[in-house]
């Protein structure tokens, strides 16, 4: 499959009174056309910041300090605001947390759906309204709801409207930042299935962000694990279900109860994520890592690419205990 989005060595910093906060540090990954790529990690690990960096929604003082982002081969970081505005929604759209605040409370659903269309396409108001009706049908909402205000809809319906809105211009990439977090499990299930169904029909790619690893295992093709602003592991879903490689990913998996199999005591990960102004030397996970070695405290682990994905951990570096588990083939992966 062709790469839709390529991110190379992306760094996002923001200035704070205590110094530079490295919210995202040297993150590289790709998303293929039609792929669902998941980013997972604890709160504050930089997953949303990465997404906002891609969609240029960072609020000052946060800013991209280095790296490149290409979409369909076009470099995004060099674009002017006006040039980027043309890409917005027609190529990259976004679905935010399903809390009450995704839709403007004083504007009717119809106007909020069509203003995105009219901002990018020369279309008569009537055509836009017809398109809005079609969009609502896609997410199984009665088109009469166009005349409603957001508060007249349930939380699940509102999130469906936001998803319909994201589809309005048939974008290549939809960024979904915890789209189901504030919904109850049943509604969440319905929304996730709707997303998967639409993704199959339209073939857009999804950057799916959540801290819910089991949910991610259910829907994503590949999963990137972020810790303290760094991408520590990228793995295919099947490989992750079989065996997580990074000790942090293992810890995350052990923090959730298994759906099948024997009951086991949940372990969790001891300690707290590090301060991003003064991250620890070496591997940023070493203070919490059960396998921490001397070199983990001294040297930042390299990001190794093999045919399973990316792994940044000293256990897998040359001379590490699990070096032989690295499966590098000539074709390489990226």
């Amino acid at each position: 499959m062709v790469n839709l989005l390529e991110i190379n060595n992306l760094c996002i910093d923001y200035d704070s009174p205590r110094g530079k906060v490295k919210a995202v540090h040297n993150v590289s990954f790709t998303i293929k056309k039609g792929e669902i790529f998941g980013l997972v990690g604890e709160s504050g690990c930089g997953k949303s910041t990465t997404a906002f960096g891609i969609s240029r929604l960072l609020r000052p003082p946060a800013q991209i300090s280095a790296g490149s982002i290409t979409l369909n081969g076009q470099e995004l970081t060099h674009l002017s605001e006006a040039e980027f505005d043309k890409l917005r929604w027609s190529h990259i759209s976004i679905v935010l947390q399903s809390a009450m605040n995704n839709l403007n409370p004083v504007i009717k659903i119809q106007e909020q759906l069509i203003d995105a269309i009219l901002a990018h396409k020369a279309m008569s108001a009537e055509e836009a309204i017809n398109h809005a009706k079609y969009l609502l049908r896609l997410v199984d909402i009665n088109e009469e709801r166009l005349a409603n205000f957001p508060h007249e809809l349930s939380g699940g319906m509102r999130q469906r409207v936001v998803i319909a809105m994201a589809l309005a211009l048939q974008p290549d990439l939809i960024i979904m930042d915890e789209p189901t977090t504030a919904l109850d499990v049943v509604v969440q299930n319905g929304i996730i299935h709707k997303i998967l169904e639409l993704q199959k029909d339209f073939g857009f790619s999804i950057l799916f962000i959540t801290h819910d690893l089991p949910l991610m295992l259910e829907i994503c093709d590949r999963i990137g694990v972020m810790y303290a602003g760094e991408l520590v592991e990228v793995t295919k879903r099947e490989d992750l279900m079989e065996q997580a490689r990074h000790p942090y990913t293992q810890g995350l998996l052990e923090s959730f109860p298994p759906l099948k199999g024997e009951k086991r005591r949940l372990k969790g990960i001891s300690g707290h994520p590090p301060d991003l102004v003064t991250p620890p030397d070496g591997c940023s996970f070493h203070p919490r890592c059960p396998y921490a070695m001397l070199q983990c405290k001294q040297k930042e682990p390299e990001k190794l690419h093999d045919n399973k994905g990316i792994i940044a951990c000293h256990l897998y570096q040359e001379g590490g205990h699990r070096f032989e588990q690295l499966q590098t083939t000539s074709e390489g992966t990226k």
Partner: protein, 328 residues
């Protein structure tokens, strides 16, 4: 959805009940003060003559001491637009005194209120949209300064500079002595000339609060998810700023505007004193100083009615501005 019949009926009904209560309280209050107004007036102007006192009592409708009879008479006369005769401006009826002061008050206080909110909102929106900018910092600094300066001081300083030293504006009053001899355009010009300083001083004194409230509300609104989504949608700056942002931030300020409008009829006493301006505030103030009870009662009633009407208008307009209200 906006307005629905049930909501309108409920609001209008509530306003009518409030109005009735206000009228009744206005009837009872002077009677609770005790003493006999007729005696007081007679002692002041007729050496306490019992005949004069009796005549006054009859004129005031106090000869029948039955409270319910008086209440009935009061309501009947009120509905005929008769609020009694002003004592200080004898024999001018209260209605006439109030109506002659009303245009001056509306012309200055109403215009100043609307302009002050409008200008304050525009500055607040501009500041919040680029918070931390030079414009924002200057407007914040000036706002905090103005907010801590009493109105009378601003008025006096303006008279001193613009009227006394620079001689650009009159020292006070609403019209010059030779008003009647002026042409129509001349009358308009001189009215505006006289009203300029009062209006500008009132705007300056009240501007700061409107700037600060709107700025803070808009900054809060700008951090909402729907603003981020509007940006991600690639909507124009203008649309995000006004339709998505300011529209939401205005809701609390709109309530403030309607409350202030209700009080406009009460006049701006300090302004009217500083500029010797013949508005409702000064009329009420003089009525109180001179124990002119019919006029006090009339003024209070005017104020009560205008506050109730302004609140009713606000209630009826609010569902259009904020669709979440009508359903509650």
């Amino acid at each position: 959805m906006g307005l629905n019949a049930g909501y309108i009926l409920k609001r209008v009904g509530f306003a009518l009940v409030t109005l009735y209560v206000a009228i009744t309280v206005n009837f009872l209050l002077p009677r609770l003060m005790g003493g006999d107004i007729a005696d007081t007036i007679a002692s002041e102007m007729a050496l306490g003559s019992p005949e004069v006192a009796a005549a006054l009592r009859e004129q005031f409708g106090l000869d029948n001491t039955n409270l319910f009879y008086q209440y009935k008479q009061y309501l009947v006369q009120l509905f005929q637009g008769n609020m009694g005769v002003s004592y200080v401006n004898y024999p001018a009826p209260v209605t006439e005194v109030m109506l002659s002061a009303l245009p001056w008050t509306l012309g200055t206080v109403l215009i100043a209120t609307i302009l002050s909110y409008g200008i304050g909102w525009m500055i607040g929106i501009k500041g919040a949209w680029k918070s931390g900018s030079l414009f924002d910092n200057i407007s914040l600094f000036v706002s905090f300064f103005l907010n801590s300066v009493p109105y009378f001081w601003i008025g006096i300083i303006m008279i001193m500079i613009f009227s006394f030293h620079l001689d650009l504006f009159p020292l006070g009053k609403a019209i010059p002595h030779d008003f009647d001899s002026l042409s129509f355009m001349g009358k308009i010009t001189t009215i505006i000339h006289h009203a300029a300083l009062p209006v500008i001083s009132m705007i300056i004194a009240s501007l700061a609060g409107h700037i600060l409230v709107l700025r803070n509300n808009l900054i809060r609104v700008l951090s909402e998810d729907y603003m981020l989504l509007a940006k991600a949608k690639g909507l124009s700056n203008r649309r995000r700023k006004y339709t998505y942002g300011a529209r939401n931030a205005l809701l609390p300020s709109f309530t403030g505007l309607m409350i202030t409008l209700g009080h406009v009829i009460g006049g701006a006493l300090t302004m009217e004193i500083v500029f010797s301006y013949p508005g409702v505030g000064l009329v009420t103030f003089n009525a109180i100083l001179n124990h002119d009870f019919p006029l006090i009662q009339g003024a209070f009633l005017f104020i009560a009615i205008s506050v109730i009407i302004a609140n009713l208008i606000a209630d009826l307009m609010y569902p259009i501005i904020d669709p979440r209200v009508a359903l509650q």
